[in-house]
Symmetry: C2
Subunit: 330 residues, 2 copies
């Protein structure tokens, strides 16, 4: 298994990307193609005493930054590490592509370079999220700002295949994010999607309100990319604020600091349950090859987990499963 | 000051509504009109030894339930406590109306019975929300599932007047909820709203992402009612799950239970900061008289705080301030 890595994408590139890749090489027995400025990569590795074993470097001088236009991956910055990574994936030089770079550019690259699976109307960004119960998949997290009803319907299908084949959920429960549970709720598009999903070949359980999402009432939560992105980030933000609050409460004085020892294991369980680094990022679902978008702020461990997502994709033949399902259902 | 109370609305009506009203009568020196089935109200009061002083009862036999259509407040259930409450407000029998009943019906009643302030295109539901920093207003939380750009523009204006006159914020910062901070982000409607808001007579600070909302980066967060409702409820849900998690961590064993004593004051500060009961519910902004929607699950204290919102409305002449602003700016 050979994974193509955008060595220059993300806030902590290249060091954390290289470290994370090497952890993945070690742990999953893969080999890697590091795409980026060869000189910078080699200098970073030698400065930090990283042995880049089982990797090769493909030189690419340009970098797509967070401020670049998403479409720059196609022409303007076709010499960037991300663009070269996508082309290598297309040519079959590697089996999957992982980048912590510009989300918009990754979406454009996945859609227009890797290309859609036959029958898929819109690829989307899917994130595995923590809940009080068990992890669930939120889709779309930002690829498609505006969606037609049939896109939402397809997100339900693709998302349920992910949960079935990757996280091994039995008959995953798919719900539509809405401002109420009644079937009369939502925008015109959401109401139309509800009608389509009622007759879907997956386990559609109806609408889900925001307050039930964090309790894990659904295994797949479907939303357009605008709404999904706001749900995802509000979720992360509230969790971060409250985790900071807990920390402050324990740091208040000597007694509270001592108290932490007595409750540490319980708090650690909770932190672990709400750990966003566990899945390392999001996946682009609906395209012909595995593309993983690692968190922009990924450290080595988070990036390693993003590579794990690519490994899971391949180990479980998710692309083939999606292709098969679209041949049958469409 | 006389406040009209829907005695039959909400999950805990009439007992908690009566108790909350009496707390408000006591604390704010107001008088109240209780609207609902006179027999039930009197029996509930005597069973629970509540002295309904400074109140009068207006008999209304019907009740709008959570399952009734929102429009039922207009005709089908015109004899309900909510419909009678709205009519009493119109006739000037009281100065404000508070209900913990069906949100949709309250929105319809406020819009079509109380009616819009001149120039206001769509009244909206506004909620004061906790943050890591200071409270902020989220608007719209569900009245208008689909919005035109000018509605969002107006929510910014009305919301900033609320924060200025009620919570006494100096030059409140208004932001547009979006899936990115760049001005190219968002749906077509959101992009158009951004352009309008850039030239607004209020302090527009640009787009806000979900992850920054809980940090209190904006004083007013503007969204359509579909998105706003999902933000509001996801926010509440994540906070609830994590608060439950903290509780479990402390309840794990004897040592952790003892540890709680050492950190209790810090955790209590945090709970207080994230206390949704503090504001008691949401307000309908943009209509000619004060209408407050208490939480459906309001207990006595929460309902009392909802009545406090009505008192604030009146004390600070918010309706007049909104009217004045629309005369000047529109």
């Amino acid at each position: 298994m050979k994974i193509i890595i955008d060595a220059m994408g993300g806030d902590n590139a290249p060091l954390e990307i290289l470290k994370g890749t090497m952890l993945a090489v070690e742990e999953y027995g893969i080999s890697a193609i590091l795409v980026g400025d060869e000189e910078i990569i080699n200098k970073c590795a030698s400065d930090n005493k990283l042995d880049l074993k089982n990797t090769q470097i493909v030189d690419a001088k340009e970098v797509i930054t967070m401020h670049d236009d998403a479409k720059s991956v196609l022409k303007q910055k076709s010499g960037s590490s991300m663009a070269v990574g996508f082309r290598l994936l297309n040519e079959g030089a590697g089996d999957a592509f992982v980048s912590a770079g510009n989300s918009g550019a990754i979406t454009v690259g996945a859609t227009l370079i890797t290309k859609r699976i036959n029958g898929v109307k819109r690829p989307a960004i899917a994130s595995v999220m923590p809940s009080a119960n068990k992890p669930f998949l939120l889709m779309d997290c930002g690829a498609n700002t505006e969606c037609r009803a049939e896109f939402l319907y397809q997100f339900g299908l693709i998302g349920s295949l992910y949960m079935k084949h990757i996280l091994k959920y039995d008959n995953p429960a798919v719900a539509l994010a809405n401002n109420g549970t009644e079937d009369t709720k939502g925008t015109a598009v959401v109401k139309e999607a509800y009608e389509l999903m009622k007759n879907a070949p997956y386990n559609f359980i109806g609408n889900i309100e925001g307050r039930h999402i964090p309790f894990g009432d659904a295994d797949v939560v479907v939303a357009d990319g605008f709404t999904g992105n706001l749900i995802l980030k509000t979720y992360e933000g509230v969790a971060k604020v409250l985790m900071n609050g807990i920390k402050s409460a324990f740091m208040k004085n000597t007694v509270s600091k001592l108290s932490y020892l007595g409750v540490k294991s319980g708090i650690d369980d909770m932190k672990k349950q709400f750990d966003y680094k566990e899945y390392g990022g999001a996946v682009l679902l609906g395209v012909k090859k595995p593309v993983v978008k690692a968190h922009g702020s990924a450290d080595a461990r988070t990036f390693k987990n993003a590579v794990k997502q690519a490994v899971w994709f391949l180990d479980n033949n998710l692309i083939e499963e999606i292709e098969k399902s679209f041949e049958t259902n469409e």
